[in-house]
Point group: C3
Chain length 338, copies 3
């Protein structure tokens, strides 16, 4: 275990006042060891690093048996621009835009799982940027850019005005398909074998462990377990948007149906039928395997249980949880919760 938490060298865009709008790190390092850690410490935090620093890091990586990482740093050495070096000794509160970008990169490079990084300060330190066809631009500079583009017979398109850019302009993780990358923020964790369809959306510090089919919205803090599907327009409640203190997670082999919603953590092998929204406060009738009503509880009392099938009975309007199996065990646990 290294003493260092993370190090990276990248390229930043600045506004005319010199403030950093974004930083792209081709390959951030998590807990670098040995000679790589020494090189990182020698480089330290710098606003205006250059080819020398990039080469120093590349050489250490190559000597340490990491040729792919080394080549990423050699690419930077060839970039004729001042580089941004960030060294995080520990996972402390975010204190600058480059630090925020480094943590977002760690998530999207799958070097850290959602909810495992200290993201305090991220909103304060990420500037709001106009993400354009000419790259990151200070929003106040857009009108002048529009004139300049028209004067040159060109066209400036503003894809977003936001604190977070799309992930794919910074990181394309292996083995993924993303049908509309404007919906996946940098800082999303997109696991190997995952397809994000046009209606899928993944916030920063949220993700799918892979393989998954994501056609709904994964809110900040929410994690989807392996082999689970999130149907079209399905909603997961985030802590930022009304989900309160409970962090929602969805286990393995679950299916949240199209236009459904989930406001409680689900265990494994759970299903919410298409069109049904389960909030923490939804009153749910629990049925065992023989369709006998076991008890009636609030959905929050079922948080994290496995093998649940949620439906709204189409002739009585009752929201029901039918246990796929192990109903008795579930029942026992329910009693234990009270």
């Amino acid at each position: 275990m290294s003493d260092l938490f993370s190090f990276a060298l990248g390229a930043s865009t600045r506004n005319t006042a010199g403030d950093i709008l974004d930083t792209w790190y081709p390959l951030p390092l998590k807990e670098p060891q040995g000679a790589v850690a020494e090189a990182a410490q020698r480089i330290g935090n710098q606003d205006r690093a250059g080819p020398g620093e990039a080469t120093l890091a590349a050489d250490a990586l190559e000597a340490g048996g990491q040729p792919i990482a080394a080549s990423a740093y050699r690419m930077l050495a060839e970039l004729d621009q001042p580089l941004t070096a960030v060294l995080l000794e520990a996972d402390e509160d975010i204190a600058s835009a480059p630090q925020a970008y480094l943590k977002l990169h760690l998530l999207s490079h799958r070097l850290a799982l959602p909810n495992t990084l200290n993201l305090n300060g991220i909103f304060e330190h990420l500037p709001t940027v106009a993400w354009t066809s000419q790259g990151p631009v200070d929003p106040s500079a857009v009108p002048a850019r529009l004139v300049a583009a028209r004067a040159a017979g060109e066209h400036l398109t503003v894809y977003a005005v936001d604190k977070f850019p799309r992930m794919t302009d910074y990181v394309i993780p292996s083995g993924v398909r993303i049908a509309d990358s404007s919906r996946v923020r940098l800082g999303a964790y997109v696991g190997d074998g995952t397809t994000v369809m046009h209606e899928g959306q993944i916030n920063f510090n949220a993700g799918a462990l892979g393989p998954n089919m994501v056609e709904g919205r994964i809110s900040q803090g929410v994690v989807l377990g392996s082999h689970s599907d999130l149907g079209g327009s399905a909603s997961t409640m985030g802590t930022l948007s009304g989900g309160g203190e409970i962090v929602i997670s969805i286990g393995e082999q679950c299916l949240v149906g199209a236009n459904a919603g989930c406001g409680i953590p689900l265990g494994d092998r759970c299903t919410i039928e298409a069109g049904l929204y389960i909030t923490a406060g939804t009153v749910v009738q629990v049925l065992d395997e023989s369709s006998t009503v076991v008890r009636t509880v609030k959905a929050r009392d079922l948080a994290g249980q496995n093998d649940m099938l949620f439906i709204r009975h189409s002739q009585t309007g009752k929201v029901q949880c039918r246990t796929n199996r192990r109903a008795i065990e579930l029942n026992v646990r329910l009693h234990a919760h009270n």
Copy 2:
């Protein structure tokens, strides 16, 4: 009060036949006064205005104590292209594409609220345009452009084929965040402090007064009051899409939950729970503060009331309106409606 309704000078794109595809106005003027109004009248309506006209307007604005507006017109003076001048003496029916663009700009520059402008004729006068990485293109010219781009080793991307462009390529209002600008049309009113998330959408002549969190769809004609949230995929019924004659508005401090829908105007401090769609014809059981059923009405009879909480009871299937407070007053009003 000036005699003029609006004036603006802008840059247009034309197809090969010379028809205008779009007009961008860096800063339209609403009800210009004094010397600015005189300059506007002197310039009048022109297809091929030039630096002289732009400078005339800029000088008048500067003399009138509007240096920021003046600088926008000076930018145009430096643009070596024929300019489009539009003078609207009154808010009459739209008679040309530049007039349509001017009214859309007035809305997005927050110089006019939704539903306050005469937009008759807008669909007839807005051409359908291919919005591309090379700017506005006549759809029939796209194949030749695709060949030319491939021949040059470049790539043409067609973002949309529509009458309305995205707002952010024309206007970025202050204090907003828009996560995916392809979903906010020019003509949207996006109030200060508003965040439009990836799933948010705002049509022309519609908007959020700000500050707001918009994660759902604001249909044409719909206005969201201050401090109200529209949850992910939440729907508001527009007059163009089945909402009929009622213009939907949502008051202040409301919450329309994720995957919910609203087909009636809401007053202040109203909530529709996640996943529930209230249409004008939904039969609703009204409960007072002590959970006593007060009466059963169609949702349209509750239009515009304050302090309503709409849920679908999860064990009876009944759609209910629970009055947060002032239940008696509400009850009285209900009787009055009958």
Copy 3:
């Protein structure tokens, strides 16, 4: 009837290994006849066709009285690049990327309806591509491109990482509006007079016969009949995403409401109210014109019927099918199904 199924000449993009990433065909030919078929057979399948082949096809088309098609092939003759020629004698399994692209083009050019082409092998033969502002790029080459773009003071945007590109970069069918083209895949069939709003989405081998208003998701294999509307975020179940073996289609003059869903084929003049999701297994109470309960069935037993109105009763929670008219006939058919 020709012996040939299809022929096209187009321009391909390749990765550095020479593998084809995409092929754009300005105008594919379906069942070419006479001299055009002869020219197609003379050209055959080629990786590196040139102006000679394009001119040969153009001349045959012109002689055959197809001047517009001829001009599309003449455009290709002027493109100084090796061209891809694909000749399909019959509609056999897809065996290459250019063949897959040809079939997708046939659908989007409205030369074939969804579910009429043999698409076996399409997923195996379509490569996953990074769709960027510089055109199609091998995902593994993106980091080097990002560096090169930053070095040149430019910006590379990655719109998607997917097997399917957006349709509008290849085909813009006549008479359509598409508010956000990132949501309509090549291979979509978009009928004349159709508007696809921002929330609309159309997969490959799926579509709307036109005219239609599409504000929801048309899944793979689903077809929307003329004069039908799909409301905002409305879901149609596809065979790829849980709909099982039933191919969903929606007849003419139907309305699937906002946030609603459809998991059965609908006949003509059917409505599903906003917010209601009908799956094949939903138990439905069928009412005749006089509101008398006729019987209770699973929705799959109503598949393909006309004149149905589906609602969830807002005071009992019962999902009901109210027959707009011809209730007796419907009733008879229902009995016949059992």
